[in-house]
C-alpha cells in the first residue's frame, strides 16, 4: 500500500476548509491545549483543526513552546501503590542475583550426587552381586586386575587372569625396571609362570606367621559383599544402620579369623585411637586403592524442602569425599631395589595400582584365605581399626625405645643394650624390624615381646641404615652400601648389587 498516502494527501488537501471557517479564538485554542475545554467544545476544536492548516500550525507552535512548562506543572509524582515500590531496578537486580545464586547451588549440587552414588553403592554392588555375563573390555580389565587382588592361587585356572593383568599393567609401566624383568620372564615362559605363580604365592603365604588374635583383621575369606565397620559407626554417632547407595542394609563385618591359614591380611595404622574417621586415617596400604570403600553414616533426616539442609549436606559430602589422602610417597630407588621387585616376584597388584606405595602390596596380595576364596574384592572390604595398643617405636641414643601410647618410653631390647647400638627401626603393627651397628638385625612378630636375631650374611658389614619391610619381603641397607634382601620373612638373605 505505498501509494495510498499520496492519494490521501491529495484528498485531504482538497477538503481543507480552514479558509472558509471561523477560527477558534486564542482562548479556545489555549483551553484546548491546556485540556480545560468541555468534551463537546474539544470535539469541535479537533474537527476544525482537522481541516484548518493554520490553526494546526498555531497549536503546534504554541505547544512546542509550552512543552517545558507542562513538565513543571507536575508538582508531585502520582501516588504509587506501596507494593509497586518494591519493583524498582534495585529490586530487580537483587532478585536476579538471588536467582543466579540458587541456580548456582543447584548446578554445583548435581555433579556431586553422581560420584557419591557411584562410590557408595552402585558400582560395587553391581560388581559384587550381579556380574555381567559379557563384560565390556574395560570391565574385563578391571575384573582381571581385581582377580589379581583377590589372588586365588589354589585354582590353576586363576593363573590366567593374573598373568593377563600382570602383562597388561607391566606394559603400561615401562619405567619400572623390575616390571620389565617380570614382563620378560612372562614372555619367555608364560605357561610355566602361570602354573608356578599360584604355588609361589601360596607358599609365601604359608610361610607368613599368623598374626596375633588381637590385631584387628578383616579376613579375606569372605563372600564378596559390602561390610560395615561397626566400630566406626558406634564411635561416630547414634546411627547404627548402615545403608548402601541403594538403600539396602549392609551386614556387619565378620570377626577376624585368627590363625596362619586365614589371618595375615591385617591392617594397622598409627593413629592413636585407631578409629577410621577420615581418609587420612586409613592405613597406608589402603590409601589410593580405588577399590577401598568408605562407608559413612547415613545423612541426618532431611527437612522436606529445606534447601539449606541440602546445601550443608552436599558440602559435607564434598569435603569428605574429596579430601586429599595423604599417602607416604616411595623414596626414590626404593622400588627398583626392592626385594618385591625381584624376578617373578613383583606383585601384579602393586604394579596395577600403587607402584609408589610399596607397603600396600603385601597386605593385599598375601592372604591364605584369598587362595581359597578367590572371590574377595578389596573393594568389598571395610577396613577395621587396628589394635588400640599398637606401640610406637623410636631410636634414642642407640637404644630401641618403645611406647604404648602414653608417652612413656621404655627400652624395648634391654638384653643387648650394652652390646648393640641401634640405628633404624621399622614397625608395621606388631611386626618390628630393628637394625644397628655391625649389621645386626632383630625381628619381632609380637610387638616387641619376643625378639629373634637375624643374621644377614657372612660378609654383611656396616651399620644398618635402612629397613624396608613388607610382610614377607625385607630389604636392608648398610652403611657399607650393601643391600640385603629377603623374600621369606628374613629366613634367607641375598646380597644384591
Amino acid at each position: 500500500m505505498p501509494e495510498l498516502p499520496k492519494l490521501l494527501r491529495q484528498r485531504l488537501a482538497a477538503t481543507e476548509t480552514g479558509e472558509t471557517q471561523a477560527h477558534p479564538d486564542a482562548d479556545i485554542l489555549t483551553a484546548y491545549m491546556e485540556q480545560s475545554l468541555a468534551p463537546a467544545e474539544s470535539k469541535t476544536v479537533i474537527a476544525h483543526l482537522a481541516v484548518c492548516e493554520p490553526c494546526r500550525e498555531v497549536v503546534a507552535l504554541s505547544q512546542a513552546v509550552m512543552a517545558p512548562a507542562e513538565t513543571q506543572t507536575v508538582l508531585a509524582p502520582a501516588p504509587v501503590a506501596r507494593w509497586r515500590k518494591l519493583f524498582t531496578p534495585v529490586f530487580g537486580a537483587a532478585a536476579a542475583v538471588a536467582a543466579m545464586a540458587v541456580i548456582g547451588f543447584m548446578v554445583l549440587q548435581l555433579p556431586q550426587n553422581h560420584p557419591q552414588q557411584g562410590s557408595t553403592g552402585a558400582t560395587t554392588n553391581n560388581a559384587a552381586n550381579s556380574p555381567a555375563p559379557q563384560p565390556a573390555p574395560e570391565a574385563q580389565q578391571a575384573k582381571a586386575a581385581s582377580a589379581v587382588d583377590q589372588v586365588a592361587p589354589a585354582e590353576p585356572k586363576a593363573a590366567a587372569p593374573i598373568q593377563q593383568a600382570d602383562t597388561r599393567v607391566t606394559a603400561a609401566r615401562a619405567d619400572l625396571a623390575t616390571a620389565r624383568q617380570t614382563e620378560a620372564r612372562l614372555d619367555d615362559s608364560a605357561k610355566a609362570k602361570a602354573a608356578k605363580k599360584p604355588a609361589q604365592i601360596a607358599s609365601t603365604m604359608g610361610a607368613v606367621p599368623s598374626s596375633p588374635a588381637k590385631a584387628p583383621v578383616l579376613t579375606a575369606a569372605l563372600a564378596k559383599k559390602d561390610y560395615v565397620n561397626t566400630n566406626f559407626f558406634s564411635a561416630n554417632g547414634a546411627d547404627k544402620i548402615a545403608v548402601d547407595g541403594q538403600g539396602n542394609n549392609l551386614p556387619v563385618a565378620p570377626q577376624p579369623q585368627p590363625g596362619a591359614a586365614s589371618a595375615p591380611f591385617s591392617i594397622t595404622n598409627n593413629t592413636a585411637n585407631n578409629k577410621i574417621t577420615i581418609f587420612a586415617d586409613l592405613p597406608a596400604n589402603a590409601a589410593g586403592n580405588s577399590n577401598v570403600r568408605l562407608l559413612t553414616p547415613p545423612p541426618p533426616p532431611e527437612h522436606p524442602g529445606c534447601t539449606m539442609c541440602k546445601i550443608v549436606q552436599s558440602t559435607a559430602h564434598t569435603l569428605g569425599f574429596h579430601a586429599p589422602v595423604r599417602t607416604p610417597a616411595l623414596r626414590a630407588g626404593a622400588l627398583g631395589n626392592s626385594a618385591l621387585g625381584g624376578p617373578g616376584m613383583f606383585s601384579g597388584a602393586i604394579e596395577k595400582s600403587q607402584p609408589s606405595e610399596l607397603a600396600a602390596a603385601p597386605a593385599k596380595a598375601e592372604t591364605d584365605s584369598l587362595a581359597s576364596s578367590g572371590s574377595l574384592s578389596a573393594g568389598a572390604m571395610a577396613y577395621r581399626s587396628a589394635d588400640s595398643a599398637t606401640p610406637t617405636w623410636k631410636i634414642a641414643s642407640g637404644k630401641l625405645m618403645k611406647s604404648s601410647g602414653q608417652a612413656q618410653w621404655e627400652d624395648a631390647y634391654p638384653v643387648a643394650s650394652s652390646a648393640m647400638e641401634f640405628s633404624v627401626v621399622n614397625a608395621r603393627g606388631n611386626d618390628v624390624w630393628a637394625g644397628g651397628s655391625h649389621a645386626s638385625l632383630i625381628h619381632s612378630r609380637d610387638g616387641g615381646q619376643t625378639w629373634e636375631t637375624i643374621k644377614l650374611g657372612d660378609n654383611a658389614s656396616g651399620t644398618i641404615v635402612s629397613i624396608i619391610a613388607g610382610t614377607m619381603s625385607v630389604q636392608v641397607k648398610t652403611s657399607d652400601n650393601q643391600s640385603w634382601a629377603s623374600t621369606d620373612g628374613g629366613k634367607s638373605w641375598t646380597l644384591r648389587e
Partner: protein, 296 residues
Amino acid sequence: MSSGPRPAEAQALSLRILFEKSGGERYGLTLQAFGVVLEQVAVKYVPQASQQQKLEFWRDLKLEELALARACAAGHDAAWQAFLTRFREKLYDIARGITKEDSSARDLADSLYADLYGTSEKEGRRVSRLNFYMGRGSLEGWLRTVLAQEFVNRYRKTKRLVSLEEQAEEGVQFSAAPSSQPSSPLDSRLGAALDEALGLLSGEDRLVLASYYLDDRTLTEIGRMVGVHESTISRRLEKLLKGLRKQVLAGLVSRGMNRAQAEEALDADVRYLQVDVTRKLQENRPAAFQQDKGSD
C-alpha cells in the same frame, strides 16, 4: 415565615465571591466592572445559559488572570506593573521559542506589547488586545497562542512577497502558472470513494492524518497535539491506512469496479498526486487571525 435570598441577591453574592476570588480589587477593578467582564464572557461562550449555568461557567474561568488582563486593558498602573513583572520575560522567551531567532522574536514580542497596550483608539479609548482575553485558558497560554497566531500571519504575509531573485533561485520565475485542473484527471470514483472513507473518520483521526501527511508533523508533535503518546500515533496511523485502503477498495467495488480494477486504480493514479498536493499546500492563503484585531 422565612425565605431564602432572592435570585438577584444570590447573584450579587456570587459575583462578590468571584470578585474576591479574582483579586481584581488590588488591580484597581471594581465589582461592577468585573461583573460586566463576566457577562461579556458568558455572552460569547454560553449565550443561552441560565444564571446558574453562567455562575458555574464563571467558576471555571481563570478569574485572577482575567481580572489582571482586564485591569491592564482599562489602564490601571498596578495591573500593568503586575503584568510586566509576571509576563515580560516570558513573552520574550515564548517569542524566541516560536521564531527560533532573537531579533525576530523581539520584533514579535514588541509588536504584541504594542497591541496589548493598545496603540489604536476606538471612540476615543485605547483598544487593548487584552480585552479579548476571556479567561478560558491561562493568560500565559493565551499570550503564547496569540504570539503563534501573529507569527503565522507574518509568515504567510512574507511568503506572498517573494522577490524575483528568490524566484530565480528556486527556478519558478518562468514556470507556467499552475492549472486549476489536475494534469491528469483522476478517476472520479476513486476520489469519491476516498472522500467517503475520510468522511467516516473521526475528527481526531482526520487531524492525525492531516498533521502527518499534509503538515509533515512529527509523531511527537502530533501526539502532543492530540494528547497521546507518539507510539500511539504511530500505531493509529498504520491502522488508519489499512482501514482506509479497505474502505476505498470496498467503495470502488461498490461503484462498479472489480477487485483488480480497484487495486489498479489505487496504484495508477498516484503518479499525478504529488503535483496536486504541492500546489495545494503552497497556495497562498489570506491571513487567518485578523478577526480578533479591532473587532471588538
